[in-house]
């Protein structure tokens, strides 16, 4: 049988994340959500404690954690605020293509100075015309001597207005579809890079999201990651690594919803007793607990699979898809447990539903996850 117990080291990492989430994130979560504030002081503290560049090896100034350890931290952060967590872990997504596709010299030149101080990076794949159909992206990269010239627009880019570095996926030839996609590292300071204005969102309102325009942006060929045409594979391998922590993020939201619902059910009285003593509410809480537990175990299993050297495409897609669906269901049931109060913004659970919704959409919509799951599954039967 596998061993599900955490090591003392993992317990310490989780304690650190829990302490930070409760002391720094939770007190600001409702206000940041209400007014859509990007709490940069909190992100700076997260960086200072080593909670930001979790996947970057220590030799380049990151925390050098495996995926299980990342998931333990992400779940704790998301328990306090899903939106802030999205912004804290966006560097992991943006820097992963450099970790997977960069040469040792590129990693040293780009990652070491980047991680040496508080800075944000953004992963630029999705475009206004589509995210799931990544093979059809339109941003062009034209070769000009030992440079490339980038033209196009990306959208729904996390942290883009505040980022100093972008990992950008562009095509050297749209006719080639997937085989034309190429990845580049582009500093915000490059001429022709323009992040758009912060989008008003349904949830994750402490996070910042905008378009990024690239107009005649000159990128030296030394800032290309991998060869021309390797970008699509690099993007997919990146998402294989970062999808599982989204399962952990969703689990954190779901656990928060269950915690709020159970605590409220013990306090709220109807018909002369706490509603936790009514079977209708007990069944709700039991179902919520099952969903949270299953989401966490699927996430841990996917993370463990990847930490043991496998690609984990199937496992991470199952974990992300299940946990994000579970987060929406559990947040929904938490609101129902609160009744009318749950629908009010003065109570914490309606935010959880709005935050949970995004986890079904970003880092691969759940429809794509199911397509991937079916494809991996059917290969075993073919």
């Amino acid at each position: 049988m596998p061993d599900f117990s955490l090591t003392p080291e993992q317990e310490s990492l989780r304690d650190l994340a829990r302490k930070f989430a409760r002391a720094e994130m939770a007190p600001q979560a409702a206000e940041c959500d209400r007014i859509g504030r990007f709490p940069e002081e909190i992100y700076r503290k997260a960086y200072e404690l080593g909670l930001m560049n979790l996947n970057v090896p220590t030799e380049y100034g990151g925390s050098g954690l495996g995926v299980v350890d990342q998931c333990l931290i992400v779940e704790e952060l998301a328990h306090a605020c899903g939106g802030m967590t999205t912004s804290v872990i966006a560097n992991c997504l943006a820097l992963e293509p450099i970790l997977l596709g960069g040469t040792p010299a590129q990693k040293e030149r780009i990652l070491s100075p980047f991680c040496a101080k508080y800075q944000l990076a953004s992963f630029c794949l999705t475009e206004p015309s589509g995210g799931s159909d990544a093979g059809g992206l339109k941003t062009r990269a034209r070769k000009d001597g030992d440079q490339y010239v980038l033209d196009g627009e990306k959208c729904f880019i996390t942290n883009a207005p505040h980022a100093s570095l972008y990992t950008v996926f562009a095509t050297v030839d749209p006719e080639l579809r997937h085989k034309g996609i190429t990845a580049f590292v582009v500093p915000r300071s490059a001429a022709g890079v323009t992040p758009g204005k912060d989008e008003e969102k349904m949830g994750h309102r402490a996070s910042s999201t905008s378009t990024v325009r690239f107009e005649g942006v000159r990128v030296p060929a030394t800032d290309r990651l991998g060869a021309e045409g390797e970008g699509f594979s690099l993007a997919m391998r990146t998402l294989d690594q970062t999808r599982t922590p989204i399962g952990a993020l969703a689990t954190g939201i779901a656990q928060a919803a269950l915690d709020h619902a159970a605590a409220y059910a013990l306090k709220r009285q109807t018909f002369g007793k706490p509603i936790a003593e009514h079977q209708a509410i007990q069944i709700k809480l039991a179902n919520m607990a099952q969903a949270v537990h299953a989401a966490r175990l699927l996430t841990w299993h996917a993370a463990w699979t990847i930490d043991h050297g496998a690609k984990g495409t199937l496992e991470s897609s199952i974990a992300k898809c299940f946990a994000s669906d579970a987060a929406l269901e559990v947040a929904d049931e938490a609101i129902q447990t609160f009744g009318g109060y749950g629908y009010m913004k003065a109570y914490p659970v309606e935010k959880l539903l709005r935050d949970a919704k995004l986890t079904q959409i970003y880092e691969g919509a759940n429809e794509i996850q199911r397509t991937v799951i079916a494809r991996e599954l059917l290969q075993k039967y073919a």
């Binding site: 003392p8 080291e9 310490s12 990492l13 650190l16 302490k19 930070f20 200072e48 404690l49 080593g50 909670l51 220590t58 925390s63 050098g64």
Partner: protein, 259 residues
Amino acid sequence: MEIVVCVKPVPDAETRLRATSDGTRLDPEGVKFVLAGYDESAVEQALLLKESIAGSRVHVVAFGPAPRTEEVLRATIALGADQATWVDSGADAGAEPVRAARAIAGAIASAPHDLVLCGKQANDDESGLVPAALGELLRVPEFSCVVDLRWDSATSRFRFQRPIETGVESWSAPAPLVVGLQQAWNDPRTAKLPAILKSRKAAIGKVAAASASSESRVVAERFELPPPRTGAKLIEYKTPEDAAQQLVRILREEAKVFP
């Protein structure tokens, strides 16, 4: 300066507690243990002194059973302590304070110590006896409930204050000194992730508690949790005056707080 900090693992305030089956003490099974709050302030004070006095070292000592004591010591290394010594209590986790002080003094006596810092009391048994007993056993002056501890290099003396009910006392004393620190007058730092990972590999010195210190003439007879709180009574009212009248009536007639 050689600074020794004595710390104790205590139950996390969020842990659900229960008594052992014989009802004589807290059941440690399933309890999460953390650094005591007063001790957090003591570690922070030690690190602040270390940072302000060149060539200083912080040596943390704890008496208790495995694995909680070692875990708490690792937490202090992650915060910045240079050395940690675990005085193993064996299975006896509920040692009374003077016996704990004897075990700790045994470890400190042979190590350099210009300053011995303790939390003024532990958050679990609240006895507050260990700092005073350490002073006696080490034959060193001891002050408790101390705040604002500084080292005055011009006079080579510690300067510190004691807030008491009638005012604030200011004292100075030379090294060596034992100090019991008041909680939360400084702002204890949080260990950073790389330091936490590094602390897992740190060597923790381990010594057995001296056998002569294991005799005890006191016996813990009974441990009871506070009775569960009963439900609150909500007053429904139309005006503040109405609420006040109802409240006074309840306090007088039901709670019998007023005659």
